[in-house]
Amino acid sequence: MISPHNDVDKLVNILSKVFSNTSIENIMSSPPIVVTEETKIKYAKEVMRIKGISGMPVIKRNLKLAGILSIEDIIKVFESGDLNDHVDKWMTKDVVYLSNTDTIMKFLELNDSKKFGRYPVCNDSGKVVGVVTKLDILEWMFKKLGYIYVHDDRRYKTLNKQFVSSITGEEVNRENSDFKFKVNYKSVEMVGLGATKLKKFLIEKGIKQDLVRKISISTYEGEANIVIHSNSEGCIYCWINEDHIKVFIEDRGKGIEDIETALTEGYSTAPENVREKGFGAGMGLPNMKRFSDRMTLISSLNKGVKLEMLFYLNDQGG
């Protein structure tokens, strides 16, 4: 389980670096839920209760930031104040806020030094245009993450030992897979054999047809990549779990140096003889990303490629 503070901070920290140039206005909740200074505490606390939030910016009549009111402030009112008091009497006046043009990096710096749960976001004329919380950042990232790209020291560790799913956190145990297919990388002609075998297998298992289609197309692309690019042995594994189907495709070939570029539609390094066979349009990885609910690709030069895709059995996937 993720304990609410340290682990969330750690996760936000790791993921934020991937998106460090994204500006806060793409992530913040907007329009924000706000109260004016003259609002009575008893109404402000109701807004927080109904909206299920633990704090909100307080604004002046001209919409500029006046302060922030949090649950802690409300507790203080209960201890020693009057619910008919106005918000400006109890709010925190010295507010740390972000500008809508700030990036995630700025959020991270603040998050390290201040440890507040939420930050108002103001535009260049000082008006409050949104609110951003750690959860907003996490949620935004998970929406954004069709794939998680690990491009630092950790990938070497991962590539050299038992593969641990970065999506589910489980170890990938090749021995207990429900389906296994060894890819013959020497023959472009044989591309697709594994994917069609997997398709048959999934249909026999009673998996819904549209899901089988998504899985077999993604697997086909993964299989084609082994043959076209890796020049090494590769294998397709599949596990049917209660709520999802996992496909894991790995090879021991030359790997991908620049995954960002490889994920670009239309980018391909496929040789001419492969293009003659109708491949190399640069749609492989983008297709896999599109058809899977979650995709992780880990690779580096000469370390092979490890591709993990999850397909949800219900409609919970994005």
Binding site: V191, D210, I217, T219, Y220, F279, M283
Partner: protein, 122 residues
């Protein structure tokens, strides 16, 4: 459109037929020699129109759930391809028409675009 009509329009020869294909109502088709395009933009139960006669054409058709393939430009179809098509239950037709003409005649007779770009013409 049923299979007989499709064969008649494209002046095709049947190379192999899958089970129950005669009763099937063909609604969509798409044409490409690039398998990746089929993988990216396809509709289930469609017919592929292609000049690429390789085993991957059949496996591509199988994974996207296409019903059949029309090989155009009178390409030679090798025995191993027919075998894979039988295994995977894919119908194969062969036509001497060019891809352009095969597409035109099918489109004019009501087959819809698997990519849906025909919507823009309406």
């Amino acid at each position: 459109m049923n299979l007989d009509k499709l064969i008649e329009l494209t002046k095709s020869k049947v190379i192999t037929k899958s089970d129950n294909i005669n009763e099937f109502d063909i609604e969509y088709a798409g044409a490409s020699d690039l398998m990746s395009d089929f993988l990216a933009f396809s509709k289930e139960n469609m017919f592929l129109i292609t000049g690429l006669t390789s085993p991957q054409t059949i496996t591509t058709a199988a994974v996207i759930g296409a019903k059949g393939i029309i090989f155009v430009r009178g390409k030679e179809i090798k025995e191993n391809i027919i075998k894979i098509a039988k295994d995977l239950d894919i119908t194969i037709l062969k036509s001497n028409l060019s891809m352009y003409v095969a597409c035109a005649v099918l489109y004019n007779n009501g087959l819809k675009d698997s990519m849906g770009t025909d919507e823009a013409l309406k």
